[in-house]
Amino acid sequence: MSLKSPLGKVLGLGSAKDGTEHWWSQRVSAVAMVPLTLWFAFSMLVMPDFGYATVHAWMAAPVNAVLLLLLIGTLLYHSKLGTQVVVEDYVHGFAKVATLILLKFAYAALAVAAVFSILRVSLGAV
């Protein structure tokens, strides 16, 4: 048994070295999402109909494909940063670590599925 106090054990070890990175990343992705989400909302409002052919042609257009890729990447990143904080606030102990890891897997799967889908349509594979 160590006689060192809990405070004594951690003093001088330094910080985790990532400081304000999470906070800053959330703000930068938020700024990027303002034009991207407004573009997306506007695109949905001017879409003539939501039939397969119309939506497919819209997704296939290079400008839309690039903006969709930027949107989905920024959106999932911003969402990941946000849900991470929510989990850290309300879930504790082992469940917290497990939830954070599962969330990370889920976000990776969503991002890959979305990017693959956009590219598959825009590159003319389907």
Binding site: V34, T37, L38, Y52, G82, V86, V126
Partner: protein
Amino acid sequence: MNTRQRPLSPHLSAYKFRITSTLSILHRLTGVALTAGTLLLVAWLIGAASGPEAYASVAGFAGSIVGRLMIAGWTYAFFYHLCNGIRHLFWDAGRGFEIEQATASGWLVVTVSSFATLAALAALYL
């Protein structure tokens, strides 16, 4: 070390109603709701990349009564989170911290996001 169970934030029942605290909680709630909405967005992209039948099942859900109600909710969540997010960015820049300013900007966010939602839903469904 003292490890007794201390009360953890948020102490939702301990405070009087304030527009500022209510909107703060609503920002988190809409963020989580929009994360759920992202699942439909990704499903929509996957559907478009998987062919007319897969797309029809996603579009069928989005066009159902339940789907339309969810899209209406997400539309408000989107405009609220967007407007209040911009309010947060102003705070991050060190502006608007006076109580009167925070109250006024809060009501401005509620007003603008409500009208934007009504306008967007009218354009989408009427």
